[in-house]
């Protein structure tokens, strides 16, 4: 099974004392990326958010 796992995309960690390295993108590119994610959220978010939130009621489980 482990052979079927994609090793190349394992967590990008460096030496154990270091922090996780963020993608080398400039601030404007990061913003553009986030802007497109927000556009996507605008498209998929429930139109009547209040009704959606209100009607999402679950029976308690474990």
């Amino acid at each position: 099974m482990s052979g079927q796992l994609r090793k190349s995309t394992q967590p990008k960690v460096h030496e154990h004392t270091e922090e996780i390295e963020s993608e080398p993108v400039v601030q404007s590119e990061l913003s553009a990326d986030l802007e497109s994610v927000l556009d996507a959220i605008d498209n998929v978010l429930e139109e009547n958010a209040e009704e959606f939130v209100r009607s999402y009621v679950q029976k308690g489980g474990q």
């Binding site: 099974m1 995309t9 967590p11 460096h14 994610v37 958010a49 939130v53």
Partner: protein, 504 residues
Amino acid sequence: MAVVKVCGIETEYGISVSGADIDPITASSLLVSAYSDASWSRIPFDLSKERPFSDARGVNLDDLRDPEIDYRSLNTVLVNGARYYVDHAHPEYSSPECTSVLQAVAFDLAGDEILRESVLKANHRLPDDVSISVYKNNSDGKGNSYGCHENYLVDRNTPFSYLASCITTHFVTRQVFCGAGKVGNETTHGDFDLFGFQLSQRADFFEEEIGLETTIHRPIVNTRDEPHCDSEKYRRLHVIVGDANISQFATFLKLGTTALILSMIEHGAFPDALFIAHPVSAIKQISRDPTLSTQVLMHDGRRLSALEIQESLIYSVRSFINEYECTALPADEIALIIESWEATINTLRHSPEKLYDRIDWIAKQRLIQAFALRHQLTNGDHRLKAIDLQYHALDTRRSIANRAGLMELVSAEAIRNAVTHPPHDTRAYFRGRVLQKWPNTVVSANWDSMVFDLPNRPLVRIEMNEPLRGTRRLTETLIDTSNTVEELLAQLASNSCSTDSLGL
């Protein structure tokens, strides 16, 4: 005793129906039955050996109260070795037993795929304007919670009270990286608001340090003593305190760090001074401070932040791994867990925003803050709670997590494979393969047994008390060379081989 950390995740999914007044038990049943079209998945799960009221502290409440299991509900076993059923008005998927954390992540994601397929098939049967939606979260925001439970095989010889005291420290603080994030606050009494943001979906619901309950007065350490295997050798630690993660990295780190700390506890190597004085209030206090700066009182009088406690745990696990030959998980996986864990805690301390691609609460908070800024929304706006809920939607067209840029650790191919093939290294292999090959002969199956109906014979129960037997290595040839279950059982009995020596 060094116990391999056989592990798995059971998830109760949130479920809602639009366009019709269908109760959640019926809707959940529709999902399980829609998926069960194939003959192999009509095999019932055998409930006769379930003991949810047996307490690790030495009491058995089975005789004193009615089991909370709904015997009318649908219970099936799948060819990947998993259990798929209706529990407490939710569809629930319990992954098969795994010996690797990355593998457990793949089988957890396979559960999401199975739910997606169930929804597709069930909605196809419903009128056009009626549809079922499923969410991988743990709260409706109104005081109702449902679980994502982890299970770990642990050494029976480790005193349970010691194990519980030690692991509580991790359970209270690990939410800094495996919290799924939540808009608002709630209580089990039904009080709730939509203000603020916290790390964890579940922290609001924990009222006791230790106990047997799972649906009320939830305890941080659950004492259910139901090993589903050799109870002389093992316990199954049933962990109810965690959030369901969408991020693969978060699931990986949640399982990996917990498995390694449990192994450290089994070796008696847990640090002496790392106990939180008031775990129930601390778990909420930490959850409600996304700045991660809050400090909690320790038994020895110190006040430490969750990050400081996690740093001490990392230091201790590193020392433990250096001192002992730890075989709890594959060696390369142990190294990856510790590296990822340390890098994550370091990054949380200095620049947590960088972790938006691997920690659910950070990914969710980033989108909520940016969305609020774009639309000039104030704290408490319903649209922010809607993003929180829709982050967890399994429908890829509606999922917001799908658009959050989360890192993938497991390939789509590995996930698809995990839907229809069992893991190789545990008894789940035998369960899944036999079910796939002889679906009409298997009457029922459980984690530790299978029952066969053969012509002109009483029902035959095969016990599978050892999670690390029944593996591909031990049983593949046996299954491949048997044309019938009679032949399989004959081979098990022949050559003076008992089922035990053949690996069951």
